[in-house]
């Protein structure tokens, strides 16, 4: 595979460079969350959840319920869950579901909603305080909230409902997001309770967070899906907005943990690589990832490749945010075969997760 040259990359990244600069620093509302107030909360804390998805089949063993936590310090430009990035509640506007009644305009105390010919009843991010008045006023559900503060017990109650399906399938709960480490105490509590119920537990994480928290969370996990996007530090920063030093350190530490955990209830660590054309979908990057796993991890050899898809386009629109990969075709899983081969040739156990 030819090396992707930098010019070509900047063709897509051109504008995003600016944006990444912007969002690697978080907005005023998000910042306090990240800088500690939520993280420091005692177990039993409430958390902000933006989706709970039952009958999920592709994030761990068996039939699972996925709990999506809100908030993520990374800003990957291909993010499939953009509504999970901000830690605060956001208002979603689904133009297709809108009947144009105007109730949202009338209800907004901030005057944040305006009617635009092309985009409908849009919200000005600058003025919106996410008070939810427009959501309550909206008859059709076209305005709705992304992110709801919920109690750990509440979440566990919902997760529990599919217990009999977990029992037959070996499934359970997977916590993803957003970023699990963005609300570590809450994640920990939900996992602990699920585990008490004997459910299989998993998380999906970017690995960007404090090791002590990750260590504690890992204690309650059967499986950890760990994102590894790019090994090159600068490239990683450019593409995701953050450095990967912590990520790689945490991954090494987790890998160590696999051994200390023992065989009683073993921990499984699976490296997940999002495969994004013109970003990291080259053999060179894949070889770097393979080399890292081979040389620096001693107990991990399973990799899942996640070919890029564009099923999330609409969500960016509903958030009123630009999407730089808009209109781009999804990557056909078979196209990823050569990358898979790169990894299998290195002795890794690699699967392509089709979308």
């Amino acid at each position: 595979m030819p090396r992707v040259n930098h010019q070509k990359r900047s063709a897509i990244m051109g504008k995003s460079d600016v944006q990444i600069e912007d969002c690697s620093g978080l907005t005023a509302r998000e910042k306090p969350l990240f800088s500690g107030s939520r993280r420091a909360m005692a177990p039993g804390a409430e958390g902000v959840v933006f989706n709970i998805q039952r009958f999920s089949l592709h994030d761990g063993a068996g039939i699972r319920t996925l709990v999506f936590l809100k908030g993520c310090p990374l800003r990957c430009l291909w993010c499939a869950n953009p509504e999970g990035q901000s830690g605060a509640t956001e208002i979603r506007y689904d133009k297709n579901g809108c009947i144009g009644c105007g109730a949202c305009i009338d209800s907004c105390p901030e005057g944040a909603v305006s009617q635009e010919p092309a985009t409908g009843f849009t919200i000005s991010k600058a003025s919106c305080r996410a008070c939810g008045a427009c959501v309550r006023a909206c008859p059709s559900g076209a305005k709705s909230e992304w992110g709801e503060t919920r109690d750990a017990d509440e979440i566990v109650d919902i997760v529990k409902r599919d217990s009999l399906f977990y029992r037959h399938s070996g499934g359970g709960v997977t916590i993803g997001g957003g970023e699990v480490l963005f609300q570590p105490a809450f994640a920990c509590e939900v996992l602990r309770k699920c585990r008490e119920l004997g459910l299989n537990t998993a998380i999906e994480t970017s690995g960007y967070g404090d090791w002590p928290w990750l260590e504690r969370i890992a204690e309650y996990c059967d499986t950890i899906f760990y994102d590894l996007k790019i090994v090159d530090r600068h490239e990683h920063r450019r593409i995701t907005g953050v450095d990967n030093e912590t990520i790689l350190d945490n991954l090494r530490a987790l890998d160590e943990m696999l051994v200390s955990r023992g065989t009683d209830r073993p921990l499984h660590l699976i490296v997940r690589v999002p495969v994004i054309p013109e970003v990291n979908a080259d053999t060179e990057n894949m070889a770097a990832i393979g080399t890292f796993i081979r040389s620096e991890l001693h107990n991990t050899s399973t990799v899942e490749l996640m070919p890029f898809h564009n099923l999330c386009e609409q969500k960016y629109e509903q958030l009123g945010r630009p999407y730089l990969l808009k209109g781009r075709a999804g990557l056909m899983p078979e196209k990823v075969e050569p990358l898979k081969k790169t990894l299998t040739d290195m002795g890794l156990n690699c699967t392509i997760m089709s979308w």
Partner: protein, 803 residues
């Protein structure tokens, strides 16, 4: 047991089948007409004997053929996919329809002008035989008003508030007779029993019994001789056959047909040949749909086992034979009215084969033949027969796996039946435990004790949503513009949710009351006008009792039972009223009624609120599911207040087939945001687009309902994208889902594993997808043969896979 794929013969038979066009065969009408109107033969005979004589004459005189390459002989008409005409129960009701058969939009038939002309000549003589012509004049004014759109002038056009549907066209159907006994003693053995019993009847001078038993004896000989005609034909063909292998096959067929069904089969081939003759026979005798082969894997297994042990057959050859048997089913056709072809297009006939489950003494019934039947469905992949697989606590994992392998092919087969709900349900209806354990599926989601049930279970539909429509209009029928229900008060004055539910319950109770009166009348007409002595020969204990099944000769004599249509619409509507009007107070009854009466015109915001701000049934949400439980309880309690002709309770159910589409056309706007004329939800499935929580939640919601009360069965349709069940992991998850759904307590579940893109593509390029099978609420059909609204319906069904 390894599964053997289709042989070249099976592939060829299937390919050839796909080229056959449905066609009309008028021989049956001609032969019956000749007997009744142009001869003296039946003039002085009792009605039932006349019917047996007609059956015998038909089997003696009609054209027969053996298809090239087929190993099983016997067919419905003079060529494949031929549909016979049944003047003795349908009269000239459908004459208008027959005229349109070659040109109508769906389910067209080949039908020559000469044949049509002959029918035009024949059928008017049979005008008074139509069950409809007999029933409707016998109805009281109230029944007429509820059943017929224009009772004074037209007895064909129904209201879609009710129908008696299936039993209005013929006397039998929905029946699983006693194949096992026929295999054990042959029809000559049955005849011997009948003769013995006739002797006693003569001593007792029991006129009814004498007539019935004479008719039974005539029928036994008729079916025996029918087999012999095929033996003769096979020998003839063998003489002319140049290929030595085929000649040998024809001679084997000849030997089989000499033996069965008169005498007990000696081999597996003869056992399934006998079964096929009986199956054809019951459909020659009378018009109905939903005849069942029942527990083939139970009664035919000993013959297979003996052949395998004796080295007379290889497993591969046995599979091929069974595949050939399966390929006979889609040859069977029914003519539906043009109207019905819109609602249930795709030539549905719901011929069930039911495998797995437990034995009468409560042991696991799974055997090699169970797996082979599933394999045959995999090998043939056609819309018929409908395969059902029963599951109970003791079913082996391998059975669930094999069944899921079939289900994920996307042919819509099989139906998964849940013994955990069915067996206690049947016991609760007074059926002995061992008979309940020996149940077979019939029709879509119904069940009955095999061999001992009178049959004829589907007694048409009741529009569940109509009860709500009437409750919201004080008994007035907005779209029909007349008073239909009873007076239950002005809804604008309701001050509590309980008043709404009570009004609904009373309207439903009223509808069910009128329905039961009419259905008992129709049962009497079946008894008095269209007895079925042939099939009664092998329904226990008709011979012993000396009574036709229609006269109560069976061990169990349940009557027709209603299927309700629109459960999810009613539940979501009531839930929305409770939440928005009586809990949150965002709406008033007045505001709601204004919006409904305007069909939401100028009230779109109200419609949106009703949809968006209330919980929905099917999401495992107690705030909607408790109402579902409540309305099901009302339905069960109301049906339990009535009795069939023979004093049994009804088997109420929720299985709409496709009646949810026409039944929606008579219902005005509902408080779940559904606008007037739109389709209702199918079976007991959630409304389209609201199944947000996915298939696990749907199964949990449905599992909460009182299925033991709803022994008429209820269908849960789950649509899955192929990706969800692909590969080894997909299969494993699919298996787990099925196990979970059964444990959650669904009565029945079936899957539509197909993606909507494929379906859209198929809409655009029908020719490329002529073998694309879809399960549409209770049956499988060819997708491209479906009407446009039905296609849309399939596509819209809640997408459950988020992958």
């Amino acid at each position: 047991m390894p599964g053997f794929g289709p042989t070249a013969r099976v592939e060829e038979l299937k390919t050839r089948f796909l080229t056959y066009k449905p066609n009309v065969c008028i021989e049956r009408a001609r032969i019956y007409h000749h007997l009744y109107f142009q001869s003296e033969e039946v003039r002085d005979e009792p009605l039932i004997v006349g019917r047996a004589l007609a059956f015998a004459k038909l089997l003696r005189e009609r054209t027969i053929y053996i298809e090239d390459g087929q190993l099983i002989a016997g067919s419905m008409g003079s060529r494949p996919r031929a549909f016979p005409i049944y003047p003795e129960s349908v009269g000239d009701d459908l004459l208008d329809e027959y005229r349109k058969l070659t040109t109508r939009a769906f389910d067209r038939f080949e039908f020559s002008d000469a044949d049509l002309m002959e029918l035009e000549e024949i059928l008017p003589h049979w005008h008074d035989s139509s069950l409809r012509q007999i029933l409707f004049p016998d109805m009281d004014a109230e029944e007429k008003k509820l059943f017929l759109m224009d009772p004074e002038n037209n007895i064909v056009k129904g209201t879609n508030i009710f129908s008696l549907d299936v039993p209005l066209y013929g006397p039998a159907g929905h029946i699983t007779p006693d194949y096992q006994t026929v295999l054990e003693i042959g029809f000559q053995g049955i005849k011997a029993r009948a003769e013995k019993r006739l002797g006693r009847a003569r001593q007792d001078n029991d006129k009814n019994a004498i007539d019935f038993l004479r008719a039974a004896i005539i029928s036994c000989d008729a079916i025996t001789d029918f087999g012999k005609r095929y033996a003769e034909l096979a020998r003839q063909m063998a003489k002319e056959e140049t290929d030595a292998d085929r000649r040998a096959e024809l001679l084997t067929i000849a030997a089989a047909c000499d033996q069965v069904p008169g005498l007990p089969p000696r081999t597996f081939q003869e056992a399934i040949q006998a079964t096929w003759f009986l199956f054809v026979g019951i459909q020659q005798e009378a018009f109905q749909r939903c005849y069942s082969v029942g527990r083939l894997d139970q009664y035919a297994y000993p013959y297979l086992q003996a052949d395998l042990q004796g080295g007379r057959i290889s497993e591969e050859r046995a599979q091929e034979l069974l595949d050939c048997f399966f390929l006979k089913f889609p040859e069977t056709n029914y003519i539906n009215s043009e109207y019905y072809s819109h609602i249930a297009s795709g030539f549905p006939s719901q011929q069930q084969i039911c495998v797995g489950g437990q034995t009468p003494d409560g042991k696991d019934a799974t055997n090699d033949l169970t797996y082979m039947c599933i394999q045959s469905s995999i090998n043939t992949r056609l819309h018929q027969p409908s395969l059902s697989v029963r599951f109970w606590e003791g079913s082996p994992d391998a059975l669930v796996e094999k069944t899921c392998e079939l289900a994920r092919l996307g042919t819509g087969h099989p139906s998964f039946f849940n013994d955990r709900r069915v067996v206690p349900g049947l016991v609760g209806k007074g059926i002995a435990l061992e008979d309940a354990r020996d149940y077979s599926s019939v029709g879509c989601a119904s069940v009955q004790p095999t061999r001992k049930d009178k049959g004829s279970q589907n007694g048409g539909y009741i529009n569940f949503a109509a009860a709500l429509d009437f409750a919201l209009h004080d008994g007035w029928w907005p779209l029909g513009n007349r008073q239909m229900g009873i007076k239950t008060g002005n809804p604008r004055e309701f001050t509590s949710f309980e008043e709404v539910v009570e009004a609904f319950g009373r309207q439903l109770g009223y509808l069910i009351g009128v329905y039961s009166r009419a259905s008992v009348k129709l049962e009497k007409i079946h008894r008095d006008r269209v007895p079925t002595p042939f099939v009664s020969c092998f329904v226990q204990d008709c011979i012993d009792r000396g009574l036709d099944r229609s006269a109560g000769g069976a061990v169990y004599n349940f009557g027709f039972s209603p299927r309700a249509v629109g459960l999810a619409d009613v539940v979501d509507s009531l839930t929305a009223i409770r939440k928005l009007v009586f809990e949150d107070g965002i709406l008033t009854m007045n505001g709601l009624m204004d919006a409904l009466d305007a069909d939401f015109k100028g009230n779109e915001h109200v419609r949106q609120m009703l949809k968006a701000k209330a919980p929905h049934y099917g999401n495992d949400d107690p705030r909607a599911d408790d109402i579902a439980q409540k309305v099901v309880d009302i339905y069960v309690a109301e049906t339990n207040r009535h009795r069939s002709l023979f004093g049994e309770r009804f088997h109420p159910g929720f299985s709409s087939v496709s009646a949810n589409i026409p039944y929606g056309t008579v219902i005005s706007a509902l408080p779940n945001g559904r606008q007037a004329w739109q389709s209702l939800a199918d079976g007991c499935s959630p409304c389209h687009y609201v199944g947000k929580e996915g298939p696990t939640a749907a199964a949990l919601s449905v599992g909460k309902l009182d299925h033991e009360g709803m022994t008429g069965g209820s269908i849960l349709n789950i649509k899955l994208m192929p990706a969800a069940v692909a590969g080894e992991t997909g299969l494993k998850n699919f298996v787990s889902y099925v196990k979970g759904a059964l444990e959650a307590g669904v009565w029945h579940v079936q899957f539509n594993v197909v993606d909507s893109e494929v379906l859209r593509e198929a809409q655009a390029h029908a020719e490329k997808y002529s073998d694309l099978l879809v399960r549409v609420a209770g049956y499988s059909a060819f997708f491209t043969g479906l009407s446009r609204p039905l296609q849309e319906d399939v596509i819209d069904r809640t997408e459950h896979c988020r992958c």
